[in-house]
């Protein structure tokens, strides 16, 4: 795969998804700002729809496949793109899953074909577009060296626990490009976010719960379970010496923020570790103000820490 991606990722279709227009707005803002600062161009997928998130598959998995396929169909057939970038783990995962199912399962192809025809748009066919995450986009579109040369304010005082969550690496079979040795992402020990933040000067801590689950699927329907799972993550990050957790998924991010507050208010367990999107950290390293990357939109108030570190 080496490496026409530097050119290929210069301009990609952008699929923000529902969360980035609501609770994950800071992620949307910071992703766009980082893209601008790095000279990577994003073009919104026209008239997109929800990918199905974690919920629609429980009503019917093939409806989820259809929903995700329509997003890809829009990017291909309405805009002529060959790469679509989704910063949200849920969206990224679902598009990848749809790609896998459409490639390997005849029933999925039939259902998608049937609904697409009735909905009045072209059926998406496997292989027409490449789905990437915001991490792939920066890692391959710019790379660590390119990033280093653009850093204006080093993140050197930031002790970061990189948290990737579930949907970025599991299940393995929907990510055929991962676990391919040097240079590729690992599904058991993902490192793209670590690599990028390290290039921006951050001190990454050895964090054992990179791919632990935050209980995001049941954040409201089984809140006590989610609070317990989130507390594991927050406490492990603090025990690893982190002063901030970097996230790359709006559901994980809002889950961590929400249950940090819930743990404090409901169970009297207070944790102090801050939570920031990796794009917010990268943006500040590139010289953007905290406001520009939406730090004021986070529930987790990190201004004191940022001031201490000379980032705000």
């Amino acid at each position: 795969m080496t490496d026409n991606r530097t050119d290929k990722y210069k301009k990609v279709a952008y699929y923000p998804g529902c969360a980035l227009e609501g609770t994950g707005h800071a992620y949307n803002r910071s992703t766009k700002e980082v893209g601008k600062a790095l000279g990577l161009e994003l073009e919104d997928v026209k008239n997109w729809n929800c990918c199905g998130a974690m919920e629609v598959k429980n009503i019917d998995p093939k409806v989820q496949t259809y929903l995700s396929s329509r997003v890809m169909s829009q990017a291909v057939n309405e805009m002529g793109h060959s790469v679509v970038m989704a910063p949200c783990n849920g969206c990224y995962h679902n598009l990848k899953k749809a790609e896998y199912d459409l490639k390997n399962d005849e029933t999925s192809r039939q259902v998608v074909d049937r609904i697409s025809a009735k909905a009045g748009h072209k059926t998406y066919k496997a292989g027409e577009i490449e789905t990437i995450h915001a991490l792939d986009w920066i890692k391959h579109g710019i790379g660590e060296e390119g990033l280093k040369s653009r850093v204006k304010k080093s993140l050197k005082g930031m002790k970061v626990a990189n948290y990737y969550g579930c949907m970025y690496t599991r299940p393995r079979h929907i990510f055929p490009e991962k676990d391919k040795g040097a240079g590729s992402e690992s599904t058991s020990k993902p490192h793209f976010m670590d690599d990028l933040l390290a290039a921006a000067g951050a001190a990454n801590v050895d964090f054992p719960l990179k791919t632990a689950c935050c209980g995001g699927a049941h954040t409201l329907s089984d809140s006590d379970m989610s609070t317990k799972l989130v507390l594991n993550i927050l406490k492990a990050a603090e025990a690893s010496g982190a002063n901030v957790i970097a996230t790359e998924c709006p559901t994980c991010h809002s889950g961590l923020e929400m249950h940090q507050i819930r743990a404090e208010k409901k169970f009297g367990v207070k944790t102090n570790v801050k939570i920031l999107y990796f794009t917010q950290l990268l943006g500040m390293a590139l010289g953007l103000s905290p406001k520009k990357v939406g730090v004021h939109e986070n529930m987790s108030d990190s201004f004191d820490l940022l001031q201490q570190q000379g980032l705000a």
């Binding site: 729809n49 629609v56 429980n58 009503i59 909905a119 689950c213 089984d222």
Partner: protein, 262 residues
């Protein structure tokens, strides 16, 4: 002891005596502990077929009981009774009564997919958990779980408009589960959320609850999805033998009506 005989050593199934003499020998203490002889007669021979007929359960027959799923399970680490390997075994054995003992917790699977990642046989245990939760609800063994209600609230919004507005999903979910929005942690959360936001941003957030986001020209997709979901629902009910039950109930209900008419 085979895993499906686990229930035999539950406290309520163990017979012990403080003082026991047999054939003139005092066997009081540990020696007096017995498991009663039993006949297992409550098999549901169709259980595996029924679970396989629901989305996610298709590969349950592939399991060879290595236990990787339970070993990897996020929820099992918090609640040891949450045991996917054991439930898959019961499903394959047809031990419905034993499975029903855990009916109130099976829905708690958080879909982290650690089991599916670890499974060497492509059983996709996460799917089996979802299929089993649906089976419990379709058969009337449990009420719709909070998770099912959330899926429902969320999915109907997606199917109707193509997009979701997270504030509306939350409000509808709390309404349908009868929970108050006035909980200290929620209030605190909203306070912190608002703390640094400029007024224009707040107005924009407020506006999105009025002008709900939606995908343009979505009607065709909505109708096609609804039609497909209804079809699938009918398939599932048929596979679980629920259609004949409904027919029987209808006929029974029709009888007294006839009498009354005469």
């Amino acid at each position: 002891m085979a895993i499906h005989e686990k229930h035999l050593i539950r406290p309520e199934n163990i017979k012990s005596h403080d003082k026991l003499v047999m054939d003139g020998i005092d066997i009081s203490g540990h020696w007096s502990t017995f498991i009663e002889t039993r006949v297992v007669k409550d098999y549901n021979e169709d259980l595996q077929e029924e679970i396989s007929a629901l989305p996610g359960g298709e590969n349950v027959h592939r399991c060879w009981q290595c236990g990787s799923c339970t070993n990897a399970c996020t929820v099992n680490a918090i609640n040891p009774d949450f045991n996917p390997r054991y439930w898959i075994y019961l499903i394959r054995m047809g031990m419905e009564e034993e499975l029903l003992r855990d009916k109130e917790i099976i829905w708690q699977c958080v879909s982290c997919n650690k089991c599916t990642y670890a499974c060497p046989r492509d059983v996709a245990p996460e799917g089996v958990m979802k299929a089993t939760s649906h089976w419990l609800e379709l058969k009337g063994h449990t009420k719709p779980s909070p998770s099912t209600i959330f899926d429902d609230v969320f999915s109907s919004q997606v199917i109707n408009t193509g997009k979701i507005e997270d504030g509306l999903v939350v409000r509808n979910f709390f309404k349908r589960t009868g929970q108050s929005l006035n909980q200290p942690w929620l209030v605190e959360m909203v306070k912190r959320m608002m703390a640094h936001l400029p007024v224009t941003m707040l107005m924009k957030l407020g506006l999105s609850t009025v002008l709900r986001p939606r995908t343009q020209n979505w009607g065709g997709a909505r109708d096609a999805i609804n039609e497909y979901v209804a079809e699938q629902d009918a398939h599932h009910r048929k596979a679980l033998g629920l259609e004949s039950l409904v027919e029987m109930a209808k006929q029974e209900a029709a009888v007294p009506f006839k009498h009354a008419a005469e």
